[in-house]
């Protein structure tokens, strides 16, 4: 790890003042679960690190019945929040599966959403990949078993955040604070594909921070997240999916379905939503929606198996949301 100076920001204003405009030179640290490893591997080499753990960490209902989550709230605070679990089960289910107890105890909601990719080419210093300003994506003809099955590149990471998936599905909004004030960015606009933003994964500028996430009132929905990972202990998901169903009796009136760990951004499956709308949830209709979700998948040389896994995650998320057995 390169040495760096340290600023302990007492509030948003101090934090933003301490951040600079040059990408990578000054970085915020919250739980550190992502950044410390990046620095140890010399992938991040900031000159200054700004502690933002003392910023907003409240989890509270909004006046309109939605939910506001301070970016500095830890994952365990979210998991243990009874109100959040009741109203936004898909969010809390995703949070409960992140990493390990130790990671959930230190890692924050903002840090989870804004973490850098876990691509092993990105994380190993030896590989000067596109995302590090290098000439190529090593995954294209390399070891791409964990890489994206959606998107056209040129970088084939999968987005590392599990929380991003339900946040997008619930229609969440990120409050972004910067030197010129605050702005709200819908989750659908927050995450960026590599062709829009190769060096980052979202719209945050170097001197901006997410201060909190707001979820709109959930309305009369049933929702669930299904994560599929290989190791049952600590492992990254091979795929996950959030399904949010608005029901009319036994019929799905509207659906929001988002997949994770399959693309450089949380990947909304509108074809699956359309396929499910107007149907009663059964193994067959959930399966058909899942088929639709992965119909346009473009697997790489070594990750076709992930298409099947993503399909299963979608199907099971739908069944789980509907309160049906998943296997």
């Amino acid at each position: 790890m390169k040495s760096f100076a340290y600023v302990d920001a007492a509030n948003e204003q101090e934090a933003i003042a301490a951040l600079g405009t040059q990408r990578g030179r000054i970085l915020p640290i919250a739980g550190g679960m992502d950044l410390v490893g990046l620095m140890k591997d010399y992938v991040a080499q900031p000159d200054r690190v700004v502690n933002v753990k003392r910023l907003d960490r409240t989890i509270a209902a909004t006046p309109d019945g939605g939910l506001r989550i301070g970016a500095a709230a830890t994952l365990i605070e979210l998991v243990e929040h009874a109100g959040a679990a009741r109203a936004y089960p898909a969010l809390v289910q995703a949070a409960a599966e992140v990493g390990t107890p130790q990671i959930r105890h230190a890692g924050t909601v903002g840090g989870n959403v804004a973490q850098r990719p876990r691509c092993w080419y990105f994380r190993n210093e030896e590989f000067q990949c596109l995302k590090k300003g290098g000439p190529r994506c090593f995954a294209v003809d390399g070891e791409n078993q964990l890489h994206a099955i959606f998107g056209d590149g040129p970088c084939h990471i999968v987005h590392a955040s599990s929380l991003a998936v339900p946040i997008l599905a619930y229609g969440g909004t990120f409050r972004v604070a910067g030197p010129s004030g605050e702005r709200d960015v819908a989750a659908a606009d927050f995450f960026q594909m590599p062709d829009e933003n190769l060096m980052g994964e979202n719209v945050l500028r170097p001197n901006e921070l997410v201060t909190h996430v707001t979820l709109p009132p959930p309305g009369r929905v049933r929702s669930a997240t299904c994560e599929i990972r290989f190791k049952q202990s600590h492992d990254w998901p091979l795929a996950l999916a959030t399904a949010i169903l608005t029901m009319s009796g036994e019929t799905v009136r509207g659906a929001r379905i988002v997949m994770g760990a399959v693309a450089p951004v949380p990947w909304r499956a509108q074809a699956a939503e359309a396929a499910l709308t107007g149907q009663a949830v059964t193994e067959a209709t959930a399966g058909a929606a899942a088929d639709a979700a992965v119909r346009d998948a473009k697997p790489m040389s070594g990750n076709a198996y992930k298409v099947q896994i993503a399909r299963t995650a979608v199907k099971r998320a739908i069944l789980k949301a509907a309160g049906l057995p998943t296997v």
Binding site: M1, K2, S3, F4, A5, Y6, V7, D8, A10, E14, A17, A18, G20, I29, G32, M33, V36, G37, M39, K40, D47, R48, V49, K53, R54, R57, T58, I59, A60, A61, G65, G66, A72, A73, I76, E77, E80, H81, A82, G83, A84, A87, P89, G99, T100, P101, Q102, I103, H105, A106, P217, P218, G219, R220, V221, R222, Q232, S233, H234, G323
Partner: protein, 200 residues
């Protein structure tokens, strides 16, 4: 069994469980002016910090980049928990921060100021053993022993919160720890058999 419709959480519930930042530790040590006006920057050289470890205050001088694990092991010679993966993936460095398990390899020492830090050395004064340590010995929940203090800490944290865990709860609580010798079966036995694991 359809879930309850709508948003039926009372605001009181929310505020009851919402933690508001309680770790407003002021900056310790020399305050330097950063590139921007009003920014209080320390480092990158060594800066004095204070850590409260096992109930004792320690003053030490470390660079901001030094992790809690390295500060405690190399500067304070508390070597009970180990450095193994050094990337928050194995749990050998598990310490308790305000009662919760964390990977000390992935937390900067400077950021642990003002927190209640507990290492495995906090559990019992030699030659006595903590009930969790005792259970690990009785059930042979250790072999080479290198992962063991981390697993002891994870087990201790579990039992302090959940004195009578189910097997599944115990497994989940220990899932952040890796043992290469393969003691898991015995470790889980020990975790479930520990009597009086709760500290007073």
């Amino acid at each position: 069994m359809a879930p309850k419709d709508g948003f039926s959480v009372s605001r009181r519930d929310f505020f009851k469980t919402a933690g508001v930042g309680s770790l407003a530790t002021g900056l310790l040590g020399p305050v330097e002016l950063g590139a921007q006006a009003g920014v209080r920057e320390v480092g990158p050289g060594a800066v004095p910090i204070q850590l409260t470890i096992n109930g004792r205050r320690h003053d030490l001088t470390v660079e901001p980049r030094v992790t809690l694990l390295d500060a405690v092991r190399n500067r304070l010679d508390l070597t009970g928990v180990k450095r193994v993966c050094d990337r928050g993936a194995c749990g050998a460095c598990t310490m308790l921060l305000d009662g919760r398990t964390v990977y000390a390899c992935s937390i900067l020492a400077i950021e642990a100021q003002g927190r209640d830090i507990r290492t495995v050395e906090s559990l019992a004064a030699a030659p006595a053993l903590h009930p969790v340590e005792q259970a690990f010995c009785e059930h042979d929940g250790l072999m080479c022993g290198f992962c063991t203090p981390g697993l002891v800490m994870a087990t201790t944290a579990l039992l302090e919160k959940t004195p009578n865990p189910t097997a599944d709860e115990a497994r989940r609580a220990l899932d952040g720890n890796i043992c290469r010798c393969g003691t898991y079966v015995k470790v889980l036995e020990a975790a479930l058999a520990t009597k009086g694991g709760r500290r007073g």
